[in-house]
């Protein structure tokens, strides 16, 4: 399938900071195909996180349109966006961002509280997600009882438990050593190849970008280079 999952049309984004308007994007056009795995690289401050926030419906453009699956999302209300995120996006953060007082299983269950699923269906989904990331034996562990790599795997399980089409990852391996980082990246690659998840990943690490299907280089709010992986 080569249908477009995302279409950004003339998207501009600026921030007002201390009475000064900082423009990050001006008239940015971009398309993301369903099933793609894109790495976004670029110097600090080039707008990578801002782009991810726009794609994830966490932030809204100053002007322009964002279409997801044929529907506009840039004009949704705050609650509308929250519901859209819950249904369509799995988020993975650099510092895992698990709830420290909840066990691995409860952390994974969290997004399911936003669905109408009953207890047993939730339990089954949580078990399946933890099994997929190879942590079914750690279900009862608290985040502080796990290594960074394990915590990031729990975060991946949390991101996929409600079966969203899209996964957004901001520096998912930025806090991990090489070997662990490779493990996480292989897992993302598997989710992309076997489960058809569309993935957009921001990274500093050229090694990490190699796991993606293509890399986009962002500089000063513009795409300056595109590389396709073998």
């Amino acid at each position: 399938m080569t249908e477009n999952l995302f279409e950004l049309k003339k998207v501009s984004k600026s921030f007002v900071k201390a009475k000064e308007t900082i423009s990050i994007f001006e008239g940015l056009d971009m398309t993301i195909k369903a099933g793609d795995f894109i790495a976004i690289m670029g110097p600090s401050g080039s707008g990578k996180t801002t782009l991810l926030n726009l794609l994830g419906g966490v932030d809204q453009p100053t002007s322009g349109e964002i279409h997801f699956d044929g529907k506009r999302i840039d004009n949704l209300s705050e609650n509308g966006l929250a519901a859209w995120r819950a249904a369509n996006v799995g988020f993975i953060f650099q510092f895992y961002n698990l709830m420290p007082m909840l066990s691995a299983a409860k952390n994974v269950e969290l997004p399911l509280l936003l669905t109408g699923l009953g207890r047993s269906r939730r339990k089954a989904s949580v078990e399946a997600a933890l099994k997929l990331v190879g942590l079914d034996d750690r279900a009862g562990h608290l985040p502080k009882e796990m290594s960074g790599g394990q915590q990031q795997r729990v975060a991946i399980a949390r991101a996929i438990v409600s079966d969203p089409k899209l996964m957004l990852c901001d520096e998912p391996t930025g806090d991990l050593d090489r070997a662990t980082a490779d493990e996480i990246l292989k897992m993302l690659q598997l989710l992309n190849r076997e489960f058809g998840k569309t993935i957009v990943m921001v990274t500093h690490d050229p090694e990490a970008a190699k796991y993606a299907k293509k890399t986009l280089h962002l500089d000063k709010g513009e795409f300056v280079k595109e590389e396709l992986m073998a």
Partner: protein, 385 residues
Amino acid sequence: MSDLYLIFKNLTRRKLRLSLTLFAIFVAFLIFGVLSSFNKAFNSGIELSADDRMVVVNKINFTQPLPIAYVNKARAIEGIDVLTWCNWFGGYYQDPKNFVAAMACDAETLLDVYPEIVLPEDQKKAFMANRQGLIAGQSIAAKYGWKVGDRIPMNSNIFSQKTGGSAWDFDVEGIYTGSTEQFDTNSVYFHYKYFDESRSFGKDFAGWLILRTTDPALNDQVANTIDTMFANSFYETSTDSEKAFNKAFIAQIGNIAMIVTSVVGAAFFTILLIVGNTMVLAIRERTGEIAVMKTLGFPAARIFKLVLGESLLLSLIGGLLGIGAAWLIIGAMKAALAGILPTLVLTPDVALTALAIMVGLGFLTGIVPALSAHRLNIITAMSRQ
């Protein structure tokens, strides 16, 4: 996993802080429960007094007597339904330490004036029939182990018998209960006739008259008529509603309600600051987590409920423990203080007031952090991490 589970996990994540905060709430509600119960007990005489009941005492003060001849004169007044009279006996049982609130009253009319005195029909008959009969409240009967059919001696620290000695013999013919839990069951009543005939001085005088009007609206008119009737005599009267009479009596003990209000008010103000501050800090620490939950798609309203639910749960746990402890303490003190505060009990309305305060406290301490969590902007919060 439910929202309540999330609330509970958030609440219990810092055990030491939780214990200290809970303890502060616990103490405040303990103070509230105990002091309110005391206040109620002090005031129960006022609250329980019937609107249509009036007391006639000597104008000089209520310890001075009135001639018994006043009874028949007063009974002729229009608007009076029933009238009885009593005389304070100054009783004690076996040892002067064992104070007994004993009164010699007109047995024929006593129970009509005090429908709160609940007595089985056969005991009522037996009491009427026996001029040496006595009825005792169930608390005092339990205290001294009196049973129906017992013959007991009672001493007076005021009066003496014509035949010498300060002891009278009585037959316990009835043990009464109160029609409400707060009604005093620490008193004993016996026949005025028996007392009046046998005492060595003070014959044909009564301590005070008690009457019921046919309609509370007639109270003022009846009081005026009585006091006018006996004006310019040796024994002028002062007639007041029972409520006013009890209020004046309580006023001599001091303004307990004000003390209670200020102590309890200070306690609640303090915990409002402590708990409010704790909640603000707790939620500020969780800024990042709240931003993550919002990112995952939790709507602002749900986050608001989670935070407010946490402060409500905190307040309810501490408050219920505090009121529970107050209930135990009041229960334990009830027996020891039965002589002074016969109606000491933690009433359901004190518990309900406490519950309302718990909800109010939970709301007040949770509303600020809940609103800031509701408003929290994901991007600002995440970039601050």
